[in-house]
Symmetry: C2
Subunit: 131 residues, 2 copies
DNA sequence: AATAATTTGTTATATTATAACACTATCTTC
DNA sequence: GAAGATAGTGTTATAATATAACAAATTATT
């Protein structure tokens, strides 16, 4: 059974808040040091919150950076994520492109079976790193 | 400048051989224990070989698994990788689909700028895990 | 209130990856 | 082929990322 009100718990809110305030993907131990003043003092507290936040879709993990970002709420496909990542500064944005999301969601393997999820990471150079 | 003969070195060959012999993505420390009898006894030896092998395209890293696979030599796009990963057993295969690879390579950001690379991980259930 | 389920706090440890340094082998250029 | 540059090696130590395990506290259900 879930939380009756289906709300985030205290620790989950603290961690989510920390991630949302960053304009870049945040690392777990960076979160930990940022929220230590709020009482979260050990890695499991952060990792447990992250696990739940990811599960409910509030947070995504950027696998190639071992970092975490808040969902920009424009997730088109519930089972897929698309990110644009700056190779130079790690600035990351969630890509909302209907055609691309649909293409990936509809993609089937050799046997014609659809995949249940996907994660796409696009690498490039962000605006401010170009100048 | 590179190795004149552009060949892999002893350690690189040992590590590549180990990866190629596996039918699943291999973890760095698993490689380490597998090749310890061949003289590679410390993590940096494995990680340095991996770095080079990835650089030359012989090996890819599966980011979501922190594991490594040998390139199946069918890389369509030099700057992009596509993998199909079984959520149940981690069995991974490199996907060679021209349409998908082209779609991803040609994809442009909001400003019309092309990305320099991509990595797509497709999650599903492999044949043997379905039965 | 009793029970069950979830969340939390805490300690310890596992796993993944790199820094730093001395040394060796190989390549380049003269 | 010697001098210098580059790349690879071996080694020790340590950094960075993530989870196991268990006890205590909180919240939900009966
Ligand atoms: Zn999202
Ligand atoms: Zn940038
Ligand atoms: Zn490949
Ligand atoms: Zn499987």
């Amino acid at each position: 059974m879930k939380n009756k009100k289906n709300e985030l718990t205290k620790n989950q809110k603290i961690v989510l808040d920390c991630i949302q305030k960053s304009n870049k993907p945040v690392k777990a131990y960076s979160i930990l040091s940022n929220v230590s003043k709020k009482g979260l003092k050990a890695p499991p507290q952060v990792y447990r919150a992250l696990e739940k936040l990811i599960e409910v879709g509030e947070v995504h993990k950027i696998e190639s950076l071992n970092s975490f970002v808040a969902c920009n709420s424009k997730c088109i496909e519930p089972n897929g994520t698309i990110f644009s990542i700056c190779k130079s500064c790690d600035q990351t944005t969630e890509v909302s492109n209907v055609a691309l999301a649909k293409f990936l969601s509809d993609f089937k393997d050799m046997n014609g079976t659809q995949f249940s999820g996907f994660n796409l990471e696009l690498f490039g150079t962000c605006k401010s790193c170009k100048t």
